[in-house]
Amino acid sequence: MATVFFQQVLNGVILGCIYALIALGLSLIFGILEIANFAHGEFYMIGAFMALFSISYLKVPFLVALLIAMAGMAVVAALIERAVFRPIVGKPLINSMLLSFGLSTALANLALYFFKADPRKITSGLARVRFSFRGLHVTGERLAILVLSILLVLLLAWFIQYTRTGKSMRAVAQDRVAAQLAGINIRRIYSVTFAIGGALAAAAGTMVGAMFFVNPEMGFTVVLKSFVIVILGGFGRIRGVIFAAILIGLVESLGGGFISYAYKDAYPFLLLILLFIFKPEGLTGGKQP
């Protein structure tokens, strides 16, 4: 029984790491542009397709495909920010919600038209490599995903904490006008934020595409879960979001394994409702960092 418990925990942590990648981008975009990006799930989906096509047409290895997808999606996300979201920065939140929701539907249906609903799988070549340790099983693929997502999250944390651009991003998140007065090019920061969000989503999409499937509808459920994570963790807080992502991964995995799998997708939302009732200031406290 203990082995099963730890196996479920391991599964949950891997899932949580992937959620963290998506939710972090969403949280950054919200923190800096004050935009609720419902199209984030589609960034993740398009990124997964980029990796899929890189592997099937360019015959590159999995890791290279991941980098191609991240770079490609960074460019696409920056372009989308420039063309679609730039005009509504600073407007009420409802504008960005409606706009991004429309964008999400449009992108998903375009993908459905061009890529077809036929589910496909990204082949990493590591799925059939299995490791066992004291009764715990993990495939090479999942291990690689765990390591990669931890690396990406650390890289992001370092970038935001120590680089000049990262510091500017934090400044814009705190006070847009003051940052502008201090000479920060906030338009560039907007583009960079979207590019980072897109790249992280693409990385997550590629990993999920390897573990599960790539299809045009993969973004819908994930974006809702990511919003739950961002709300739980606090908008714009990196540590809180990572914590919340892993929590959601664990809740799904343990709830699915020990309570009932059929209602697995309900657990994160149940958690959110409980949070709103008992701790409305968020998991990691009230004040802005």
Binding site: M1, Q8, F213, G256, S260
Partner: protein, 382 residues
Amino acid sequence: MKRNMVVSLVLLLALVFAAPAFSELPKAPVRIGVVLPTSGPIAYDGTLALNGVKMAVDEINKAGGIAGNEIQLFVEDSAGIPATAVAAMEKLVGMEKVVAVIGDFGSSCTLAMMDVAQRAKVPLITPVSLAPKITEMGNIWMFRGCDNSAMIAKAFTKWAVQDKKADRWAYIAINTDYGRGSVDAFNVELEKLGAKVVFTEYFNQGETDYYPIVTKLSSTDANGLCLFGETVDLSRVIAQYHEMGIGDRMLIMDPTSGTFNAKFLELTGEYADGIVGASRFVASIPTPAAQKFVADYRARYNVDPEKYAQAGYDCARMVAIAIEKANTLDTEKVRENLAAIKYEGPQGKAHFDEKNQLIIDEYIIAVNDGKFEVVAGPISVY
């Protein structure tokens, strides 16, 4: 050619002797309706059934039609949506004045159409829908032209428990009427055979992460894993089951053969090998009738037929025979003749029981090296 001559001769005789006694078939095309999903998520499978229907009708028309009258098909797309299926059914019986309707695919669509059939007094025959209650509701206008999950359960459990010694079962099933209904039907048979059920979990359609289930499964002592679901979902279950490192512990069973298709093989590769299931039809059934059907179908569609195409073909043929026997477009007579039919199709002999459920034989199928092989059967379930 010879067969055509025999058929025409029979038709001629039938005309000469039978015609004066009853109201004769009018000299006009016989109108038959079809409702199947040719768009939407199950369009691929729906089209397979339609292919079978079209092939049967073309064959009958080429051989002289029904008593010299050509069959005219009226095909409506239900898109797998019950409301659309009902609208299609209303159109067929109300405007097109068809004599009988073949359809639909999903059980929920068929259940919705049944009432229209009863009200309009038009026989409705489904080539695919599995839900047992379709034929349990006492609607005499409703026919099921294929096996149902209870019959599959009967044929399959006996083989799996007694021949394959799988006596501790685990279920992973889709969270729908089909999944839950199938588990119930199988539990009834397992109890009779003295086998135990040690694990039951349901998943929602489109689920991707089955690790919570397979992890839990790994701690049970099950020696048979029974799956109910569709191609894509089950391909993930199978892959993650193997990733968990318990691949050789259980006999993997897909009794309703939802996985026995080319897409599943593509998605799972060698993980598909060793999966066993029951099916009323696969292209490798060695009887001459089956092989002739497979050859004709392949010549026409360039692909092997599977059970949906076979059922579409059989339903169209049975309806045509019933109309021919009735020798009238009176739907009450057509219904009576359909209920009393003694049919022999590519799959074997078939007839309807008192609930209008088709009684046909089952075959046990195994995936071996990417091919579907018949390992046992035909098994009679009557």
